[in-house]
Amino acid sequence: MSIFKTKFGGFLLILALLAVWEVAARSGVVASVSFPPFSKVFVAFANLMISGKMVVLVLPSIERLVIGYALAVVFGVSLGIAMGYFATVYNIFEPLTEILRPIPSPAYIPIAILFLGLEDTMKIFMIAFSCFFPILLNTYSGVRSVDLIQINTARTFGLGAGAIMRKVIIPAASPQIFTGMRVSLAISLIMVVISEMVASIDGIGFFILNAERSFRVLEMYAGVITLGLLGYLLNWLFVRFERRVLHWNFDATRREQL
């Protein structure tokens, strides 16, 4: 059937689930003050948007996310390239990253609070730290797996080490670098919420937890929906950027799949 060929069916499913939510809450099948109908949540969400309160809420979170994520990209890609290119750097840092990486990032929050306090510095550090590892890993494995023939082609044309890095290794590794950046984008949203729930007086994470604690259930749900939309928006922007930079890779891999 034609609805399965586009995402139209997928949007219908979302609408259907929202309808089930609405009916379940209104009919009293699930009767609880903690479970208001979606329409009321939507009104609360719309009020937050129209009043401009949402912007004030989300802006500090976005600021932390962007700064933390940008730091992770800069440091992750730089060290990743050095680790991928120089065996010595790889041998020095690889065991350390393998030990640090499996520890869930939220476990570092208490330590970060001890050293950096409760302010933005701690939150930005936590976001940057958590986003750092997927970018680092993907960058160095991308650099290490650059085809030797691509490098030897550059050598036969007389390119030096710097030019080979710029014109061959970085473009060749970029699809994998982007994979790491995509994974980290999701992590950045998780970490901004967690760090704001643990210690904050503003931001969307603080808002959701605070709404729950003061029994403003509608606002709590509205906050969660906001996060869903924010995550969707960030991913949409990322994919647009990725397609722009890596269009050659999208086209090439699509052809291989045919």
């Binding site: 023939i149 691509q150 030897n152 050598r155 036969t156 044309f157 007389g158 060749a172 890596l246 890779n249």
Partner: protein, 260 residues
């Protein structure tokens, strides 16, 4: 003085000896094919010659200058065109890749790209990406990229080994036409004895691993060559018989200095 002089070159990888005592001279402007049993070290020798791999022993000179890295005058063309072309660059920018490191200006680069893309018959495909082209067209891009540098020596490593027979015949004739026009020197490594005879003036036969030069044969088939008539000629068939028996017999000859 020969353009290329290889003296007593050896190459070992750990315990494995790939080349032993290889000596060979190549005169400027000649078309030389190198054949030998598979895995005998033909490509290793070519990579050492191109400065992509250091020799373990011996001496390689290009115009009496020792080869220590990739020399400007030599361009290496790989068999794996799909891995040698850069997928993020269009046809034109792949051809431009080899020119960007020469210090010539952007306008001149554009002019040369157009000229050499036209020479290999790919005008109109300048803005295509490699994955949008067939294998034969991709290898033509690689040939255009190499020739745009005006190399004195073209090192071709099984360059037409990954395309179908018809495309291969087309690439062979294209290469011969360009060689006759520009008179660069070609060292063409191939496992295909027929291809070696069809293309070359001189054929160097390597022994089984560790490779040494067994013999060199002048084809004396004249140019231009023709895919049908050349391959039917008595002399061609005689070379074919001789070379097949040489390559498939395992007796190693004394490493002798051979002038190709």
């Amino acid at each position: 003085m020969s353009l290329i002089s290889i003296r007593n070159v050896g190459k070992t990888f750990g315990d494995f000896t790939a080349l032993r005592g290889v000596s060979l001279d190549v005169e400027a402007g000649t078309f030389v094919s190198m054949v030998g049993p598979s895995g005998c070290g033909k490509s290793t020798l070519l990579q050492i010659l191109g400065g992509l791999l250091p020799a373990s022993s011996g001496d390689i000179r290009l115009k009496d200058t020792p080869v220590t890295g990739p020399p400007r005058e030599m361009i290496y063309v790989f068999q794996q065109y799909n891995r040698s072309l850069y997928p993020w660059r269009t046809v034109r920018n792949n051809v431009a890749f080899g020119l960007e490191s020469t210090g010539i200006g952007g306008v001149e680069i554009q002019r040369k790209c157009a000229e050499y893309i036209d020479l290999v018959g790919l005008s109109g495909f300048e803005h295509h990406y490699p994955h949008q082209l067939s294998g034969g067209m991709q290898q033509r891009v690689a040939v255009a990229r190499a020739l745009a540098r005006n190399p004195e020596v073209l090192l071709m490593d099984e360059a037409f080994g990954s395309v179908d027979a018809q495309t291969r015949a087309g690439l062979q004739d294209l290469l011969l036409r360009l060689w006759r026009e520009y008179r660069f020197t070609v060292l063409f490594v191939t496992h295909d004895i027929d291809e070696a005879i069809y293309l070359a003036e001189k054929i160097v036969v390597l022994s089984a691993s560790p490779a040494t030069v067994r013999t060199a044969i002048a084809t004396e088939l004249g140019y231009p060559r023709h895919q049908v008539t050349t391959r039917e000629s008595e002399r061609y068939l005689a070379h074919r018989r001789h070379l097949y028996s040489l390559v498939f017999s395992d007796s190693a000859a004394d490493p002798a200095l051979v002038t190709a």
